[in-house]
Amino acid sequence: MSTERTIEEPSYLEYKGKYKGLFSWIFSTDHKRIALLYLFSILLFFVVGATLGVLMKFELIAPGKTIMDAQAYNAFFTLHGIVMIFAVVIPGLPAVFGNFLLPIMIGAKDVSFPKLNLMSWYLYVIGVSLVLVSQFAGQEPPDTGWTFYAPYSFRTAGNMLPAVFGAFVLGFSSILTGLNFLVTIHRMRAPGMTWLKMPLFPWTLYATGWVQLLATPIVGITLLMVVAERTLHIGFFDPTLGGDPILYQHLFWTYSHPAVYIMILPAMGAISEIISTFSHKTIFGYNFMVASTLAIAFVGYFVWGHHMFTSGMSGTALYTFSLLTFLVAIPSAIKVFNWISTMHKGSIDLQTPFFWSMAFVFLFMIGGFSGLILGSLQLMCIYITHILSFLISISLYSEEQDSPFLEQCITGIRRLPEKCTIRDGPILA
């Protein structure tokens, strides 16, 4: 460490390493280059998912068949869901902005395991490729929706194996990113940066890392069970063999509810930074912001049942999950109060990123309040069929829109610093 040079070093964008051109990117272990690799691959798959979404909306523009039949609609619907959830919103913030900014914000040179970081990107690309291949290889494209619900996921003629296995590989990539960030935050904070001096964006990445690490393996094994069910007819979730399809839903949502916090927590951290920066004030209630981040991640593990209110559970389980769901509102509300209090008497600089952040807070409040309505058991159960579109609009409001919103937002303010130096080791040391 003592030999570190302070002279001007070339930007990571101009750095000339062992490889040239494209290879200097796809073989780079530099966290900033990997972040941009993620950025561009995620944007590419975002375009794929969005195109499918637009085509679905064209189909719905008039009653009856407009541009595709029902089966093709189901296939588009499924691929849109898998791509947008597993390949866009889940890695979107941690893998792009986390990779780029985490080491810089905690004063580290890179993440703890740069090679593993690059491997996560390769796994990501392999995973998405498998998902996309499932559309073209085989008899019929998958048509189960992104949730792969049993028993349909192993009864359908759709080409499920690559899609399910692709989602498994994407999960593995997500686990490794989370693991990398956790170790980085534990071991590589600059001297003097104690836990409660760490900026809020790294804090949210820390909470996200734990969610990625502790929740993703459950969906991993569940997806492997679906693969085994299709190939070997084991009977895990097949009622005709004694299995229980509801068990599949429990296992699936044990991951997939915490997954929404993988999407939203880093966004909250970034919003905290942006609002504080453009209000020219330190964040209001820093300790509470940290605590609410951890509380959301923690309580988030115990609310998966609210995805299954009408699937068949005991009354006690229903009430418990409903109560726990309401609990999430408390730390979420603390965050909104603190964002607004940060602006109070601040010297607000009305720049574009600040407008985006306002939009985030506004959308998050719509999503949060309607979440309270949906969390209440009776409303959810009685009106489930009537409010399905309501439900979908909520999830779109509070998750899928927030994250892309935010990506544009952060891209806007930070304009990813170009003066960062590169620290690039050979791939196989």
């Binding site: 040079r5 395991f113 459950i218 069970m225 895990f236 004694g242 068990l247």
Partner: protein
């Protein structure tokens, strides 16, 4: 470009422990499924478990426990600069791991010859409890065997690195991490063994 090499053994070990956490959760999902179906099919699980050979299961448990001990000893050996002993101990670990897989092969082969395997019509006739028991048996021991194979490959790579002196008495965190992984594989078997062989 700075040239100093960043080395942090504690970070490597923390990373390995976190990875083992995810492995435990991976198998944890299966243990939950096992518990649910055992609860629903108590009698069938009870009878099916009696058909498994406790002798082979015990033998495999002993093999894995010894192999865990030898890999732990190899970590001490390398700290004492004893490269030859380290390699011998790793070799014994690999041989024991392979012996485990050979036993497993004969065990599985025995069941398959009796037409007991997932999707078999003979098994289907025996009822849903047996289907689930053997489905879980093949899936869980199969996934475990896959972990053994990955562990053996790791240990062989580590052995190569020791021969090339890339791993030595003052830089043995890779060996330690593969030891941790091997202990995990052992530990999971310690839970699989009673669940499938002993609870009858």
């Amino acid at each position: 470009m700075t040239t100093e090499i960043h080395r942090d053994d504690l970070a490597s070990k923390t990373g390995m422990w976190l990875f083992l956490f995810t492995e435990m959760l991976l198998f944890g999902g299966l243990f939950i499924v096992y518990s649910v179906y055992r609860f629903r099919n108590t009698a069938a699980f009870h009878l099916a478990a009696e058909e498994l050979s406790v002798f082979v299961g015990t033998l495999n448990t002993i093999l894995l426990l010894i192999s865990s001990a030898t890999i732990a000893m190899s970590i001490t050996a390398i700290q004492k600069h004893n490269k030859k002993l380290t390699l011998i101990l790793l070799g014994i670990t690999v041989i024991l791991g392979i012996a485990f897989l050979v036993n497993k092969y004969f065990e599985w082969g025995h069941h398959i010859r009796e037409h007991i395997y997932p999707g078999s019509p003979v098994l289907a006739l025996r009822g849903q409890g047996d289907v689930l028991f053997y489905g879980l048996y093949f899936f869980m021991t199969g996934l475990h065997a896959l972990h053994i194979i990955i562990g053996l490959i790791f240990i062989c790579v580590i052995g190569q690195l020791i021969i090339k002196d890339k791993i030595s008495h003052d830089n043995f965190v890779l060996l330690e991490n593969s030891g941790l992984y091997w202990h995990l594989v052992d530990l999971i078997w310690i839970f699989l063994f009673p669940l499938f062989y002993l609870i009858t």
